[in-house]
């Protein structure tokens, strides 16, 4: 420590890095989040095919960034904390990429009439069985 801190009084300590967000800003973020929830429900009423998933996840990602950036104060947090938290999404993307890679190669399999499901045993609905599945 180059700068010794005196035990009594913390005026010399740098506590100024704590960001106190304004109430108006937090209220704006809340309204944006509620509005985006409405948009999520509204958009789900239309059938855009496979684009529905991308749209839903896109809106959720915007909402998530608002929560992370403002409510979790990440916008004003230190670089190390930003890196630590954001790195979890990096590792998550690795998980998703390899899972999707498996998924898409299995779809090729299914076109070649090779089993599609990893849990495939002939599946029947419980109520089609004589004893109701029990």
């Amino acid at each position: 420590m180059s700068q010794p801190h005196h035990p009594d009084g913390f005026g010399d300590l740098d506590m100024g890095h704590h960001h106190v967000g304004s109430s108006a800003m937090f209220a704006t973020v809340l309204i944006a989040l509620l509005f985006l929830t409405f948009i999520t429900v509204a958009v789900a009423q239309f059938d855009f095919g496979s684009a529905n998933m991308l749209i839903a996840m896109g809106i959720a990602a915007v909402k998530a960034s608002l929560v992370i950036g403002f409510f979790m104060h990440v916008k004003w947090d230190t670089a190390i904390n930003k890196i630590v938290f954001m790195s979890s999404f990096l590792f998550l993307s690795l998980l998703f990429i390899f899972t999707l890679a498996d998924l898409f190669t299995r779809r090729l399999d299914s076109e070649m009439h090779i089993t599609k499901s990893p849990v495939d045993k002939e599946w029947v609905h419980p109520n089609t069985l004589p004893n109701g599945g029990h």
Partner: protein, 244 residues
Amino acid sequence: MSHDDHHAVTIPAPGPEFVDHEVAHHFNTPVQEFQALKLGFWLFLATEILLFGGLFAAYFYYHEMYPETFVLGGKQLDWKLGALNTSVLLLSSWTMVMGVRSAQTSQKKKTLIYLGITVLGAVIFMCIKYMEYSAKNEHGLIEFGHLFDGYNEATGQLPWFTDHDNVMASVPHGHMFFAIYLTMTAIHGIHVIIGAGLIIWIMFGTAKGRFHAGYFLPVDLVGLYWHLVDLIWIFLFPLLYLVP
């Protein structure tokens, strides 16, 4: 500060209704204490993202395998209750951030009010969740009484999925959607309950005057946990209730 010079570093209370904060002896400065604990908490939150990330990966996998099952399964949930719960959580996230802000500005009474409303949000959320689970139980889509019974080896059927009304009869592996729905929402629900407990604990500290402009770290960290719970739900809502 040299090591043989062991003064306790104290952050003085800003007023008579607050108490001083004594920095733990293994930290040299309040800033060091704040940053170390906050970094640790962000690391914990990163592991939470990975925990739920695994569940989301499972969701996407089976959604791709059995899209009709997931779309039909999603229709068995009441999106209005889901949207209501989303709004409840978003509002409670706002009261949480306002609670943290009140602690940062040494407003004890306001902190208690905002945190109290946040706990109320958690209670409303869990009540709505309970109503939803009861409906699933009634229709035999998730029979909670048989959740841990072994599956029937002869038929391969799961005791907790009987689907009395045959709503899932037209799709393969109808139970898959409900298995994923229950796993994701139950683990999320456990987080809601733990979060509410932590907020109540923080409220006791606030009442004792432990948190003020000089020291509000526990309020801040519990707030981060609560926002994470909200963050997960933001993705769960469209994926489970409005299955794309």
